[in-house]
């Protein structure tokens, strides 16, 4: 058979398979991400059917997928959003980072994977999935709830942190020394800061330059600009994803609206390809050995996220019920944990990191919506059981206790 025919058949089969899986996920009202990962696992290395000719294209598609994911994330926020959140909510962001990144780092060190893997795994456990959480909030009819802005501002801060964190791991994974690493970090911070300032001050002008009444031209200009900036960022060792994120931040107003609508389908396509690609490069046989650490990590970091949300909501003056809801909602991890792990997998530092991240995300992307739904009732039930105690436990006491309800949450159905 002709090679281009083989490619079309393979790639077409992948996309069609993903579409059918997505429909299946839609029927059960859950995120298709885990199914895409499983589809990738099923094929490729050690799977049922190794892919041949489409491998290279899927790899490039995955790269574009990450760029589009971050660009769309940038488009969601205006620079003003980011700056105001940073000013008012930074303590919540710091608590979130400390509570959720440390367990990941500790696990990597426990397994003896070394410091670089520890920094990567810290990111995997730290960043919640904005996509899954926004959908869950809508599905549960909680968009109007008073704890919702608290949840969203934590997500904003995490996404903003990615702009600093990604360049760091890019440098670390490239094996840069301390001096080169610091230089990279300085460049990254400088560029990110510069873009924020420019976007706040001159966002209108940038948007006017890009703006076009014709959707076709708008699509080409935005996509071209994003890929170009991402490429330059990669060349500067800052990470392509961050470049794309900053382009998204710099675009605002009507241009952002228009680009959002135009690029959504593209993002969906390439992001799906990215998840498959990640699965393809993970040998399913390597998952069972890391299943226990993944479960333990999922359990601990579900607890720490609940504590984070509880604390942040308490700080915003939300009542106890809302605090538990905020905590439970934040549990879901998803696309960004995979993006971070993907960087590590392609650089090939620790062979078991990919499988661990896959198992971890699979667990939490499924458990996350359940904890969002059930943490509050379970906490209320536990509270009634121990009603001899104070009705509103202090946050630190809650932290020990909520390691108990979250794993039970699914069983409570």
């Amino acid at each position: 058979m002709h090679s281009s025919a083989v490619f079309l058949i393979e790639f077409g089969a992948i996309i069609l398979g993903l579409g059918l899986l997505g429909r299946f996920a839609g029927r059960f009202q859950f995120s298709p991400i885990p199914l895409y990962l499983l589809a990738g696992l099923a094929f490729g290395e050690g799977g049922l059917l190794p892919l041949g000719t489409s491998e290279e294209f899927v790899a490039i598609g995955a790269e574009i997928g990450v760029i589009l994911l971050l660009l769309m994330l940038g488009l969601e926020y205006t620079a003003t959003d980011l700056v105001s959140n940073l000013k008012t909510q930074y303590p919540a962001g710091l608590v979130d980072a400390a509570l959720n990144a440390l367990p990941g780092a500790a696990m990597a060190l426990l397994l003896g994977w070394g410091p670089v893997a520890a920094v990567v795994l810290a990111g995997v456990t730290w960043i919640s999935s904005s996509g899954v959480i926004a959908k869950v909030l809508g599905d549960l009819g909680r968009l109007g709830n008073r704890e919702t802005p608290v949840i969203l501002s934590i997500l904003v801060l995490e996404d903003l942190s990615m702009a600093v964190y990604l360049p760091i791991i890019t440098a670390l994974l490239a094996g840069a020394g301390l001096a080169a690493g610091s230089a990279t970090l300085a460049i990254a911070l400088g560029v990110a800061g510069l873009v924020l300032v420019v976007a706040v001050r001159y966002g209108r002008h940038i948007s006017r330059f890009v703006s076009s009444d014709d959707p076709e031209k708008l699509l080409l200009v935005v996509l071209g600009l994003t890929l170009l900036v991402a490429g330059v960022a990669q060349q500067l060792q800052v990470s392509a994803a961050v470049g794309a994120f900053l382009v998204g931040i710099a675009l605002s107003g009507e241009v952002a609206e228009g680009a959002h609508g135009l690029l959504s389908p593209l993002r969906d396509l390439f992001a799906a390809v990215f998840f498959v690609f990640f699965g393809l490069h993970t040998d399913p046989a390597s998952i069972p050995p890391v299943l226990l650490p993944a479960l333990a990590l999922a359990l601990v970091t579900a607890g720490t996220k609940i504590a984070t949300g509880y604390w942040a909501a308490k700080r915003a003056g939300i009542s106890a019920k809302g605090r538990w809801r905020a905590g439970g909602t934040l549990v879901a991890r998803g696309e960004f944990s995979i993006v971070i792990a993907g960087l590590a997998v392609t650089s090939g530092i620790e062979p078991r990191l990919g499988p661990l991240a896959t198992a971890y995300v699979l667990i939490l992307v499924i458990v996350g919506p359940l904890t969002a739904r059930y943490t509050e009732p379970v906490a209320a039930w536990v509270g009634r059981r121990g009603s001899a105690r104070a009705p509103e436990p202090a946050a630190d006491a809650a932290q020990d206790r909520d390691l108990v309800p979250s794993p039970d949450a699914p069983a409570e159905k």
């Binding site: 969601e76 926020y77 959003d81 105001s84 959140n85 904005s130 926004a134 809508g138 009819g141 909680r142 968009l143 109007g144 709830n145 008073r146 704890e147 919702t148 802005p149 969203l152 501002s153 997500l155 904003v156 609206e257 959002h260 939300i318 009542s319 019920k321 809302g322 809801r325």
Partner: protein, 161 residues
Amino acid sequence: MGTPRLSSTPLPGIGVRYDLTTREQRRISVVAHRDGGRTLSAYRKDDPDACALSVRLSAGESAALIDALMPAHHSPSLLSTTELGLVAERIELSSTSHWNGRLLGDTCMRTETGVSIVAVLRRAEAIPSPTPDFRLAGGDTLIVIGTREGVESAATILGRE
């Protein structure tokens, strides 16, 4: 009583939330999504942070609701001749309507309700004074004139699925 103020809270990545606290200390909020959709929420009395009701509205549904909320609102009527007791209304046939593909005469509209169908709006054109052998289709908008009661029962007849 001053004018009640809507306070607004940005929801990064989703839109803006507008809150209103009524004189009876009940809270209502509208989340304005960036795609033009709206979510209308009313808060629970026992847990003021959570919503008892959360309804997602499309842009068109929001417009219809605004119309009903306007203090000077009477009806979606084209002509309000209250002193004559006559009203005119637009009634839309749904795509799954019982009358889809049936003749206008089959509805026995004038005999049953006493209203007149003065025109049918279909896509971009208006068909004035449709005859009884006019064939209706789902999506048509009928302009009817009659008494308030007659128009109500006409809407019931035309609403048959």
